[in-house]
Symmetry: C2
Subunit: 150 residues, 2 copies
Amino acid sequence: MKLEDVLKMKKFESEYHRATLNIIYSGIWLLEQVNSVLKPYGLSDQQYNVLRILRGQKGKPANLFSIQERMIHPMSNATRLVEKLRLKGLVKREICEKNRRKVEITITKKGLDLLDEIQPAITKSENAMATQLSKKEAAQLADLLDKMRG
Amino acid sequence: MKLEDVLKMKKFESEYHRATLNIIYSGIWLLEQVNSVLKPYGLSDQQYNVLRILRGQKGKPANLFSIQERMIHPMSNATRLVEKLRLKGLVKREICEKNRRKVEITITKKGLDLLDEIQPAITKSENAMATQLSKKEAAQLADLLDKMRG
DNA sequence: TTGCAAATATTGTATCAACAACAAAAATAT
DNA sequence: ATATTTTTGTTGTTGATACAATATTTGCAA
């Protein structure tokens, strides 16, 4: 569905305005898709994102600062988000002995298992895009966005 | 800057995964741009969005329901958001006499003046995109997003 | 060495959003 | 006409988020 129909707009001020609104709208739309998949597992998209970053560490711990750097959302308080994951037993936190300012976060077995459990539903949701766009178009879209941000 | 550099990622699972993350990230990125422009005026992006919808009504009032339909964000409570605008004197609300369930919202002179005041900064921000993308590319980007959502 | 600046994390507070429950008016059905 | 359902909006509650203020550790400079 075209954005002007979704938002019941007659016209846009410019192609740049149309692109701007479309990117923002589509981002929110995609986040909702992801969240609806995650909801049954009791995770928010940000929590899921953090778990994936930690899995990508392959056992190496990550501190809060480096987690924030890699998040899609700028996370204004990593401490409380990670604490929620810890309470669920999905991550472990330890003070770094080398540099006592840092807190080392690692994903637990339980966290890895949960990611494995969720994976199929997420992949399915992401691949829904494949029915609309060819692989080439998806790549082109991402390239344009990279270019757009400068 | 490419998304993989921003998020310090080695690779993506697929072009679809890359596009998904890129759209979400770019949407948040754009929202931040808009918000930084609006901040000095004490408006959130949602409040600004509502004011623009009301201006588009050209004097005709809009009720809360129709405002929600046209918002980029699904707004979970329009009542309170509009109340904030009313307290600032930017909108007026009246019970619709024809259908007393409805509340008619109209933008005030003060609201219109504020929009005019903000306009140049917003346009400037939106046109920053023009230094990165041609008009044709912007259109192509928006088309791909429309297509992506199906 | 001492003092100051930078890096890292936590906490407090105020605002905002999601979700569900509720209410009132209007439309529809019996 | 009365009861039921739908539309529209409001409110309560709980949890999330932004932002600023505050520690604590480390690194560096005088």
